[in-house]
Symmetry: C2
Subunit: 386 residues, 2 copies
């Protein structure tokens, strides 16, 4: 079996698996990390040690790491922190891009109902957001903006966005910048402090940690208003007894990522080789965002006229698991919002499948995917689906 | 070692431990439950099967079970669902009791800042909320009330509240009722539909499931507005890729609870016996909420004049782990809010320790706690701390 849907969700990585099995076999420590007895303290120390490790790998300060349940919670929290009460201060607008994840889009829509204006930044045809447009919007509306939310890497195309430049512009205009790093962290190096962003985030299940875990990184932790209120946990930034076991696995997964950093280059080269070969075999094939900087392990590929879902099913029959777009919109066999924002035609848009591997996936997977994909295209080209 | 802080957090139960070790050893299935490939579907089916089991044990309909990250999130979500936009409809007030967990109190305060009035229901000296007062408040202000939030069992005293009567009154006056069942579920039988409440909830870490898991039960799931917005997961009621592994452990823990239901009676009798004996040995000792119906495994006990923290430390030196109050307020060596609401004097209030066991704790633990506590009281009585 080849699992090629890491952008959707990563399997629990081996280090985390081993760590958890050992922890469970030892049967503890278990306790409320906020209890003042020895066991509570032991659990707390374990969790705070995990926080230190996460901070180090992510290039953040220890107190900038707020544990939560995942990236979506981080996004909702960052919006809440910047927008709750902002209208009263004359901050009436937010900017997102047209390629944001539905978690950002839908959270934005919620705040539009509360009276905010949401401006959608255009995207170039290569899948990169239009930074020039952002620059002029910031100059025009900077003092009215409550938040800019633009991702670091796109979940469908894998295209890396100029998030450092965006930070610079936002900082210049004093506008908080939420950088959705869900697809970035764990796939390539990310340094929160160097990024300049006000908020960044991650989901444990995308990086090989336990499901239901996550981190919100906040430049000024004091600016984080709790969305889940509770009893003052996480220094008042996120209520609810902390998921200490899950948080420990975040540290293990991030250490595992750091350990395997040197695999990125080989993965990237192999992916480029794979893409070149499939295009050589099938000249009509389109790689979305081909000319833009992309994550090492993401390929979003279409053979116009062959429906993506048909390709997905063919690959699945060969025990290779890919998706057609993001998991959230997978059930809609239409051109995705991301591709529409890039100006991609339906002819291409309906044909895409997303192939996304992990840092530790064997490079030979690309050879196997190449053969399986070729077979699928050959078969399906005879009975084009649209 | 005797762990007697189940009300703070329960250890992962044996069935969950075994389940997880096996699942990790099998190394999967792992996937995004919203992906439409076979693996995604397999993960989804496992999670939905878990939802069915949880629904059955909790006496809820399948679609009334919304998975989330814990009880605190459930509380924030229920408040958000009932209060967001309520002012505009003339619903200006909420009622909570004086013995609510700080998660409810602090969430209430957040909404007070948004313009709501929060009325605090009085509590009788036995630790039971004053239902007669509630009845007259509902009659007087029913049409202005956006929410009533009163717990099913108190986290400190273990006193069981008349939640069915409260449901009946709230239903009569058409006021949504949030019943905080965090300390109730997993310690005694709870049937959501029979309870009549509009919202109930649980935290996995209180019932032996994985940390960072939880369920919000909603009578009318359509009334649940997502707090964490995301991409439409949990039928739009809770965004973010579901914590499918954690959710599976909720089903395992609830099945384990059901399997051990018959242990409640013996635990209850043993606790009563323990309390009678410690009072016989130390006639000054006070059991908080003694005359009220209580959870089988909770004792909140004080020897006036001996500081609770001193007792806690003495017990800890004998490898018995208890707390002085809830984990959230454990660091404040003053009479807790709950006890103040019951009219308890500082002389008693500063002396309390909370002894809380789990359904599967050996009954002999009470014998050992009895001896250790007696030893502690004997020792500390000579050097009374206040």
């Amino acid at each position: 079996m080849i699992y090629a849907d890491y952008n959707g969700s990563a399997p629990i990585c081996t280090d985390v698996k081993d760590y958890l099995i050992e922890r469970l076999k030892k049967d503890g420590p278990y306790s409320n990390p906020n209890a003042i007895h020895y066991l509570g303290n032991k659990v707390l120390m374990g969790m705070e040690n995990a926080r230190s490790i996460c901070a180090k790998v992510l290039g953040a300060d220890y107190n900038q790491i707020i544990f939560n349940s995942g990236a979506t919670e981080g996004i909702s929290t960052a919006f809440h922190s910047c927008l709750d009460g902002a209208l009263e201060k004359g901050k009436k607008a937010i900017i997102i891009s047209g390629i944001e994840h539905s978690a950002v889009v839908n959270t934005g829509k919620y705040w539009v109902e509360k009276g905010f204006e949401m401006k959608i930044l255009p995207t170039l045809s290569n899948g990169v957001v239009d930074v020039n447009a952002l620059e002029s919007w910031l100059a025009d509306f900077g003092d009215k903006l409550a938040l800019v939310a633009i991702m670091a890497a796109n979940n469908e195309t894998g295209v890396i966005q100029p998030y450092e430049k965006i930070s610079e512009l936002c900082n210049k205009h004093n506008v908080p910048y939420l950088c959705d790093t869900t697809q970035f962290v764990g796939k390539t190096l990310f340094n929160f402090k160097k990024s300049g962003a006000d908020f960044a985030l991650l989901s444990g299940h995308k990086i090989g940690a336990l499901t239901g875990t996550g981190i919100l990184m906040a430049k000024n932790p004091c600016s984080v208003k709790p969305l889940i209120i509770g009893g003052g946990q996480e220094k008042g930034h996120r209520g609810g007894t902390q998921n200490y076991i899950g948080n420990e696995t975040l540290a293990v997964a991030l250490k595992n990522f750091e350990k395997n950093l040197d695999k990125i280059e080989a993965l990237n080269s192999k992916r480029i080789e794979f893409e070149a070969e499939i295009k050589r075999r099938f000249p009509d094939v389109v790689i979305l965002g081909e000319d833009a900087p992309r994550l090492a392990s993401s390929t979003y590929i279409a053979y116009p006229g062959i429906h993506g879902q048909a390709v997905q099913i063919e690959l699945e029959s060969q025990d290779i698991f890919v998706t057609t777009s993001s998991a959230c919109s997978d059930n809609e066999p239409v051109t995705s919002k991301v591709l529409k924002a890039m100006g991609v035609t339906d002819s291409v848009g309906r044909g895409v499948v997303r192939i996304s591997l992990g840092l530790c996936s064997p490079l030979e997977y690309y050879d196997q995917i190449l053969e399986a994909l070729s077979k699928s295209y050959e078969k399906l080209a005879k009975i084009k689906s649209y």
